[in-house]
Symmetry: C2
Subunit: 297 residues, 2 copies
């Protein structure tokens, strides 16, 4: 456990640095507010630059470095695109017709500040702009990976089943489906994209993908637990909203203790996939994995 | 004028054939309703297979053929992606928080049938799926062109200024901005993408782009005119909704007669760009241009 907390601390430092780079790149790539259409650019910047852990960019960077990638425009573009896509999903997820959340990352949600129409379009624009950036890496496999992880067999598929399951009794298989698709798929893709840009081998891609699947699910289980155990102040978003909305979560199906146990099992299983990457320095990813399971916000 | 109507008739036949191909491809590419998440796939298919002119796929195909492209998986993927992206924009445009339209292509709009949450997600999913298909052409320039034409400097930019201008007095420059971005940009991209896939030269790309810009604007001016002069039955969507919503349109700024004159001038200018393509058979595109200006629905 001490080892886990030590690792989590190191990961926080790594994420802080990766977050700063991400923020710098986002500010550079997203058009300025003074450029037309300025309300839209303002809404995009508001949602993007509201803080956040920048976990996906950090995972992409760590995976890229693991496979020998050197700092380059390509990884900067990918890191920015991943954060834009994550933010796009949050903006649409928070809409009144979806989860109807008022706070995100400690600030009023985009539709609360800019209205629903602009929020819908700002989400759309971030999604599309991410593909414009990704196209600049000239790596078509990255475009494909990203699109697949977001689509009906990925994130959006998870969101739909999530919405449809609200207030209904659900089984573990459904919660697994929702959370793997809604959350883990983009986390997995972040790692795979870093590896693709660093020209990892097929076998290496498979290891990093399995690690991503597992740690992505851990991330979501901890999210569900924090929704119950944490405070709005710590979390920066509405707490207890899963319960309020009758959401299909791990604690709702398994209870808190068994959810924590499941997270730990998945965490250990994920690390095994990293161990298959012989002669690679997997320290950073191990640290981030520890942070994901040990985080309190 | 007779010549124009003759050309329009030929274009109708071309569009009918291209439309059938598009429909066949869409049915093949979009996951079946029985695949999970079935409500989402059902909503995507409902919106996509509700008819429509399939103008953008037809333009891409005509441009592809003009530059010597032979029937292939790539052009099929591009045609399908274009129709998905157009449909994505319609679904979001029709939402209650946007134009709040009840009918589209003669049928209730997606949110009327599936609810707002599913409509937002079906739009998102079509947008993302289009990029997944386009990535399969392995042509990264096509991805870039498409994303640019849709983003804040393209379609979405136009939609935002459109929404912001509602009910306000606007000048011709604003209407030009809105309509070039909201409509012409994707029509231009459809033509450019066909040309890119057929490996057109830089000079050829520039000619086809200018033709697309012009004819795209003509399309929107005629759309504005039809919104006033046509009936719901003919048009398959709410008529007079532009006026009702205080939309910035050409007739609102210039009046009907001057709008028709502007469309004709742009049409003639567009054809000049086609004439710069020496030794190419531009008949099909000339026919489609004639249909665009002469259409009654």
């Amino acid at each position: 456990m001490d080892n886990m907390l030590g690792r989590a601390k190191k990961a926080e430092a790594y994420l802080k640095k990766a977050g700063k780079l991400t923020e710098k790149c986002l500010k550079k790539y997203i058009p300025k507010e003074k450029e037309i259409p300025s309300t839209l650019h303002s809404a995009m910047r508001y949602a993007l630059l509201a803080g956040g852990k920048r976990l996906r960019p950090a995972l992409a960077q760590a995976s890229y470095e693991l496979f020998g990638g050197k700092q380059s425009e390509s990884i900067n573009l990918a890191m920015s695109a991943l954060e834009m896509l994550h933010t796009f999903s949050l903006i649409h997820d928070d809409l009144p017709c979806m989860d109807d959340d008022d706070f995100r990352r400690g600030k009023p949600t985009t539709h609360k500040v800019y209205g629903e129409a602009t929020a819908v379009l700002a989400g759309d624009a971030l999604c599309i702009y991410a593909f414009e950036l990704i196209a600049q890496t000239k790596n078509v496999a990255v475009v494909k990976e990203l699109a697949h992880s977001l689509g009906t067999k990925g994130m959006i598929g998870g969101q739909v089943i999530d919405t449809e399951s609200e207030g209904k009794p659900v089984d573990l298989a459904t919660v697994d489906y929702i959370h793997y698709h809604k959350t883990a798929a983009l986390i997995e893709a972040s790692l795979v994209i870093g590896a693709l840009l660093a020209r990892a081998t097929k076998k290496e891609l498979s290891c990093i993908r399995e690690f991503g699947k597992g740690i992505g699910l851990v991330f979501q289980i901890i999210d569900d637990i924090l929704d119950i155990e944490s405070s709005t102040e710590e979390l920066g978003k509405d707490v207890g909203s899963d319960l309020k909305n009758g959401k299909a979560t791990y604690p709702a199906v398994l209870g808190l203790a068994a959810s924590k146990q499941k997270a730990l099992e998945l965490y250990n299983k994920s690390l095994k996939h990293l161990e298959n990457l012989k002669n690679k320095n997997t320290e950073t990813l191990k640290n981030i994995a520890a942070l994901i399971i040990a985080r309190t916000h």
